[in-house]
């Protein structure tokens, strides 16, 4: 039987079950007209039935397709809205940041007193338009500096006034920042370089300080600590537990070491303590977490915690955890920057835990607020190391009223720069969780430092910049590709190149470039 067509399925008989297989087909009247008509009638009915069925199926199909299409469209729309919302949120945040950065210089309407004389001498009365943002100060204006800044940056400031506005044109998109042939590729992970461009000119009035939300959060956290102390006095259960929990967290953060899997025990312990705090068996007060986040939040479907309040003990311990991490950065990574990395991993892993999110978003603002206080240059603040206020703006610490030594300050900055990179350059690609502090923040921080007008470049910035790059250049390049290489070139060669004073801190950026060349073959020059 080979070669013959396959046997027809028997069920074929039943394909049209209503086919009139009357036995009377062989009857007497099989040739009668009535019979004929009847058969035609039956055939037509059958035809209609089949057609109807077919049409119905076809309609169903069309409907389904339409439904599918609508659904798809709806999803697309939702996706778009979500993206728009994200962008909107980012823009607001960037605006807020810009507002901040723009405003900061306000308290120094004057140029640094020590510098002007020479400069002024060379400057004709060019200052026509301090009106744009009148620093309103009797201090000597160094108008010529503006020009210096402008030419050195290759960016034209809006006006000749040496007002805080100057920083705005410099604040950039990667494109502007790089000024290099390579287009800033948005590589992998969908991590786009810092959203910018969108930012409309905020804070037109530099005299009105934008509310620095991070500082407010930081203050609220201090308040929280006080309130916990009071609660503990009245609540025995809380008092007996809170100190031990705090010390356990501090100890666990201190135990973190390099090596994959080396920190499982510590990580689990920290998470367990925070969960215990969430369960709140010691009945700490419930408080509103919105005091500790950057932007107001609404409940989100599917979030573990949509309630308006969380146990204060939980927020307190998150704060302690953040505090311990920062202290570890300062004390340990200051001496050995590479120790920051395991702490950064622990931070990212803990703050991204689904049950530690509030309204679906992490509470990492608690940590970032601390960075803002201890290492302001990461957020675009600048100042002179030779002045009181300059040092304050740079986060130079004071102990009992006097400045800590230069060595201590630079140590702190080294540790914090490395710590910031350790927190912000985490790859969540393989993870189901959401990165609580994605790499665009790293980019933004770097951009803010390298866009400092030449005259305002400080050693502190150089030290922070160096330590946020060293040991992290590979991760940075993984995220941003050629754009990262261009940014490294800007940071390690161009930025120190235009620094007015070639101090050891400035020179060490160039040395890092040398080191990258020597150790990894990365040629920037």
């Amino acid at each position: 039987m080979t070669g013959s067509s396959p046997a027809r399925p028997r069920s074929l008989h039943w394909a049209s079950p209503q086919r009139p297989l009357h036995p009377d087909i062989f009857g007497e009247d099989r040739n009668s007209e009535a019979r004929h008509k009847f058969l035609i009638e039956s055939a037509k009915r059958e035809h209609d039935r089949v057609r109807e069925d077919a049409e119905r199926v076809y309609r169903d199909h069309l409907q389904k397709e339409e439904q599918q299409r609508l659904l798809q469209e709806k999803r697309k729309e939702e996706e778009r809205i979500r993206r728009d919302e994200q962008i909107a949120a980012e823009v607001t945040r960037v605006n807020a940041l810009k507002a901040k950065q723009v405003v900061i210089p306000a308290p120094l309407p004057d140029p640094e007193p020590p510098r002007p004389p020479a400069v002024i001498a060379s400057a004709p009365p060019a200052v026509t338009s301090s009106s744009a943002a009148p620093p309103a100060t009797p201090a000597p204006q160094p108008p010529s500096q503006v020009n210096v800044v402008a030419t050195q940056n290759g960016v034209t400031p809006k006006g000749p006034s040496f007002s805080p506005d100057d920083s705005r044109p410099l604040l950039t998109t990667p494109q502007q920042l790089l000024k290099r042939p390579e287009p800033p590729l948005l590589q992998s992970n969908g991590t786009a370089p810092a959203p910018k461009a969108v930012a409309p000119p905020v804070a037109q009035n530099p005299a009105i300080p934008a509310i620095d939300r991070y500082t407010t959060i930081h203050r609220n956290l201090k308040e929280l600590r006080r309130s916990m102390a009071q609660q503990a006095n009245a609540n025995r259960a809380l008092k007996s537990r809170i100190g031990d929990m705090r010390r356990e967290i501090r100890k666990s953060v201190g135990q973190l070491t390099a090596g994959t899997g080396a920190n499982r025990v510590q990580q689990q312990k920290i998470v367990a303590l925070l969960r215990e705090a969430l369960q709140n068996q010691v009945q700490s007060q419930l408080i509103d977490p919105s005091n500790f986040v950057m932007e107001p939040r609404n409940p989100v479907e599917g979030a573990v915690h949509n309630e308006p309040q969380l146990p204060s003990l939980f927020l307190y311990l998150l704060n302690i955890f953040a505090k311990a991490a920062i202290a570890q950065f300062i004390n340990e990574a200051g001496a050995r920057p590479e120790t920051a990395d395991p702490v950064g991993i622990c931070i990212a892993a803990t703050f991204s835990e689904p049950d530690f999110l509030w309204h679906g978003v992490s509470l990492i603002d608690i940590l970032i607020a601390k960075f803002r206080i201890v290492c302001p240059v990461l957020f675009g603040y600048k100042g002179s190391e030779k002045t009181e206020q300059g040092r304050q703006r740079l986060g130079w610490w004071k102990d009992s009223g006097s400045w800590v030594t230069e060595q201590q300050h630079m140590d702190r900055m080294t540790g914090l720069g490395a710590g910031f990179a350790a927190v912000s350059l985490r790859n969540f690609g393989p993870s189901k969780k959401t990165n609580p502090y994605p790499p665009r923040h790293y980019w933004t921080a770097m951009a803010k430092i390298v866009n400092t007008p030449s005259a305002d470049i400080s050693n502190t910035q150089c030290v922070v910049l160096k330590s946020m790059i060293q040991n992290y250049e590979q991760k940075f390049i993984q995220f941003y590709g050629t754009a990262a290489i261009a940014a490294l070139r800007t940071s390690l060669l161009e930025f120190p190149g235009r620094a007015p004073q070639k101090s050891a801190a400035v020179n060490s950026l160039g040395v890092l470039a040398e080191l990258l060349k020597k150790d990894s073959g990365l040629v920037l020059g």
Partner: protein
Amino acid sequence: MADLASRITKPEDAPAVSAPETAPETQIDGGEELGTGLVQSAFDVEIKLSDLQNDTESPLFSVSTFEELGLSKEINDGLLAMNFKKPSKVQERALPLMLSNPPRNMIAQSQSGTGKTGAFVLTVLSRVDLTKPTQPQALLLAPSRELARQIQGVVMNIGQFCKDLIVEAAIPGAIARDGAVKGSVVVGTPGTVIDLIRRKQFDVSQLKVLVIDEADNMLDQQGMGEQCVRVKALIPKSTQILLFSATFPDKVMTFAEKYAPNANQMKLRHTELTVKGISQMYMDCPDEQKKYEVLCKLYGLMTIGSSVIFVRTRQSANEIQRRMEADGHKVSVLHGAYEGGDRDALLDDFRTGRSKVLITTNVLARGIDVSSVSMVINYDIPMKGPPGKEEPDSETYLHRIGRTGRFGRVGVSISFVYDRRSYQALTQIANFYGIDLIQLSPDDWDETEKKVQDVIKSSRAKPDYAPSAVAKV
């Protein structure tokens, strides 16, 4: 205050115009307001030099830069890569003396963690001729293989941009029996070095510099002192000799002066020896058994990077390791029972941060520099002398606590006492150096935590490492 112009610093009197603590912003607020309604802010005021660097006597204070010391660009870049931006006092003072020609001997004393190693390594690197990369020109001696390897690491690190720099370690097992020492810089322990010279594996004919680190220890110890004398006899007479240590007891000093004749000298009095950045405390333990529990609790009280625990016996070292590992710590134990390669590996774990707690007997009291060590624990008070006639060992105490507070960083030392004898021994040491030890108690950890935090804060607040400030004796 009304006269804003007067607040402007004239160039010639810049330092004189010091800012009051309160930022003038507030003073000016509302004072002069322009019609624009813009709030006006103040000038930034220059900081006085004395604020910039509180104490010129600090061993970490210096005004010059490495460049001013006339170091080559390669060396300078190496320093910058290691985050050294300015010379410390011992470097600033000793380097010009050591680098001057004709070369002159040097005996230098400076507190722990103030840059002694950097000082002699810079001298060595400046003296060697790198066009003869395999010809030994500098020999550095240290009392232990750990220290020798550490110094080797520092030479290579600072010299990382120096082309053709070869640094050899002359320690047991490092040079093959039929091999030769082929490096311009050689770092080793005295016994091995002598063997290598005797067997003609080490050509010392062109040696220019001999450095002896922890010199008091090296010259004092039986055996090692002799070896040092023999090394000196084997090398060219013209070799420049540099002796370094944090401590130089008087009797050793006499010998040192003979060993390095006509030397320039930098000395400290014994009340000037402790680095003020280290907060020294003691823990009053109820009994010897409780010490284990107390120890584990310490790690929650403050931020600790790495830590070193000094114990008297191997048994207690092992027991502490067991307990601490159960508590989640990663621990290295290093004592006489380990040898050669094992010791290297254990210490490397600690150096690279794979373990953050190092438990050791006295082997490592001296010299070992792990910059992130922020706590040293004297689990047992250091004693010396024959059994039955033991007395407190002040020098060892000083070297032990010197493992922390490196290069001006905050460090904490906690000594455990639990009975009359240990308490008296510690008191004696404290009196010798004129230090106030702060008492801690294990009864209320909330209280103790607060106290420790305060102590750390206040020690940071005094950046004066001023030796004279503690002269009490």
